[in-house]
Amino acid sequence: MQTRKHLRLLTLVIVVLMAATGCVPQTVAPAATEAPTQAAAATETTTTDSADVPVVKIGFVWPLTGNSATIGQQHSDGALMAIEEINANGGIKSMGGAKIEAVVYDSETSPDVGSSRVETLCTKDNVDIIVGCYNSAVTFPASEVAQRYSTPFISMGGVKNEITERGYEWVFRVNNKASYDVAEMLKGVDLCLQASPDTAAAVEADGGLTYALVYESTDWGSDNARIWKEEADKRGWTCVLDEPVTSGQSDMSAQAIKIKKANPDVINFSFYTNDAIVFTKALFANKINPRLGVWSVGGGSQDAAFYKACSPAEYEYSFVQEDWNVSMPYLYDWAAKISEDCYAKNGYYITSFFAQGWTAAKVAIAAIEAAGTNDKEAIRQALVNLDVKLEDCADSHIILTGYPEIKFDQDGQNTFSSGTIIQYQNGVQIGFSPLSAATPGYSPIIPIPDDFATRGSTSKPWGTAPEVK
């Protein structure tokens, strides 16, 4: 009797809890849970009037839980908004206005779950094309599954070189390889040295450039550090600190002290959002001021959450390798409009993650549009033949990431993918490399001034557009 009472009570509690979680997202926390409702909306709108129009399915696998969840969420936001735009404008024209249905799965940041989800997409949902999975470790086995099922797979986010170096004809990558990322940053450092001959001379006088690598110790961070080291060795730079850090630190003062002691000219760090926040704060607090700046390979420091958590003073003058052309909203009206829409919907202006998600989805759609059929081989062919230039995107809005062109090489790698090296100046992202993405009228501030007392006092809030000079 007693037990039964308990059981009833517990069931009630669970039901209430579940009901609560069902309602809460819409009412309590709009910003954080916009995506779920959005995803539901996307699916609903496409299924309601699918009676006579054919449906095209695109599968997405993002990390929606785990360390990189905020990033996966932004990827997902971008992709779903892109699909929404197409659906609102009459769907896929070559297929008689076919609507696009998005199937979104959570990879849980785990390789086995991710590849199982891709397998589900291939078999149960029978999607026409798959986009995913941000984490290289997940993308790796997941893209192999797509290859096995002869389903086109567009890798977005994963930078590990080998993803497109395995000879898989079904795997395409729109974004950069890790080696591109590093090459861009090193080129950025070179540019800085050129911009300030005095600093270059001082560096030379001190026995050549020194750098410190600080990175999260799972695959992405250590891969980035490894490539940086290889490339920097070629230039004769000296590594004064190679510091892997286990993810999830609540204080990085110890690392800051270590860096201070090593006194490098350049700091390169790669952290996911949580560690990036803690690290940036620790650097600022300890007044660490390498003369060639703090360079982040992206990850956490491209995340909107990072900028909510850090004050402008803390990231002032830091360099970020953004995986998109940050000047897009200033260069193109359509991009500016998307950015506004994104802010209205998700509470943040477009980030590189959003743009990447968007672009990947758009590339998938463009391929289907070109193929004009659900046939996977035709879609693959369309991807192989795909050649979109940024100038031509005024109507199609494909390359929100601002790559000059998207065209896959024989490995399926988009060789035109490039990011932007930006520096925060007065709280504003100033692009300066490559030239196509440079913010007109600005140059990098080198050497980094030692103005900790006043730093950030006049900074504009994050997301402010630079005044074009």
Binding site: H6, L17, T21, V24, P25, V28, A29, A31, A32, T33, A35, L64, T65, G66, A69, T70, Q73, S217, D242, E243, P244, V245, T246, G248, Q249, S250, D251, S253, A254, Q255, I257, K258, K260, K261, T273, N274, I277, V278, K281, A285, N286, K287, A305, F306, K308, A309, S311
Partner: protein, 300 residues
């Protein structure tokens, strides 16, 4: 070299104090009820979300929010003991003890709470930008620069305040007498007219209330996110075992050692190797002296 080690030591001590503050509640709960509360981290996370809500909705600083959140968490702790753990203890009495079930139920509770918050709030990193988190304590003597957020200093001090408060309640009050009696011998206490299960619930509530106070300190300098709990939960366990399960000064001492090892260790080896060092230290400690540094001994 010495400079940086000294600095690292200071940072380590500060950080260790914060670890200790979080671990204290866990230690009290184990000391009295013998329950290893795997939901500890989740409870910590839950409290930080309450502070976050209070701050964003009503502008209440977490330090003041303690007054509101701690009673709520105290009740939550009591409820946990009453509805989840006491039924198990009653069931196990007399028959063979099943040590797994207590671990399992708290583990399940932890999973449920942290994922419930994941569902409600998503995995976004939120911060509470209060005055204490934005102002820095700085000591600068020539090249020697020590600087840290005031909120970290407060978290360090909080460890001793919470520790003292718990010590006072347990050792100097009528309620504490009951708690001590129950923790020493529950059957004997029961014979003397102490309501054992009620006392357990009170002790559990106290432990959770303590973690709520630590949560306020944490939310002032760290972020609010559903997975924060897992991070500190595991660490708290290692700290508490290192210091001696059930010992209040032991929890603080364990926290300090952890903080120092992590911070100073990182000056000599890589940071990830120094986080391995804490695990190794923990395991060596267990094998040499399973009752922990300040534990009362006895069989484990």
């Amino acid at each position: 070299m010495l400079d940086s080690v000294l600095l690292a030591l200071i940072y380590g001590i500060l950080q260790g104090g914060a670890y200790g503050a979080i671990a204290l509640g866990l230690s009290v709960i184990f000391g009295v009820t013998r329950v290893t509360n795997f939901a500890h981290g989740a409870m910590l996370m839950l409290s930080t979300f309450l502070y976050y809500e209070l701050f964003t909705r009503f502008g209440i600083d977490p330090y003041i929010g303690i007054l509101l959140v701690t009673p709520v968490l105290y009740l939550l702790g009591m409820a946990t003991q009453k509805f989840l753990i006491t039924p198990l203890l009653k069931k196990e009495r007399g028959t063979t003890q099943d040590p797994a079930s207590l671990l399992l139920i708290t583990l399940g509770l932890g999973y449920a709470i942290s994922n419930l918050f994941m569902m409600i709030y998503g995995s976004d990193y939120k911060t509470i930008p209060t005055a204490a988190s934005r102002s820095y304590l700085t000591v600068e003597i020539g090249d020697f620069l020590f600087t840290t957020q005031w909120s970290r200093v407060i978290a360090f001090l909080a460890a001793f305040i919470i520790g003292f408060a718990l010590w006072f309640i347990i050792n100097k009050t009528e309620l504490g007498k009951k708690i001590r009696a129950v923790s020493q011998n529950r059957d004997a206490a029961a014979i003397c007219g102490v309501d054992v299960y009620k006392t357990y619930a009170v002790a559990f509530g106290l432990g959770i209330a303590a973690v709520a106070v630590a949560g306020a300190c944490l939310s002032e300098y760290y972020f609010v996110q559903p997975q924060v709990g897992t991070l500190f939960g595991t660490k708290s366990f290692l700290i508490v075992v290192l210091g001696g399960l059930g010992s209040i000064p032991g929890a603080i001492l364990g926290g300090l050692i952890f903080g120092i090892v992590e911070s100073v260790g990182a000056q000599f080896i890589t940071s990830s190797a120094s986080s391995m060092l804490t695990f190794i230290l923990f395991m060596i400690m267990l094998f040499i002296r399973p009752s922990g540094l300040l534990g009362k001994g006895g069989k484990v």
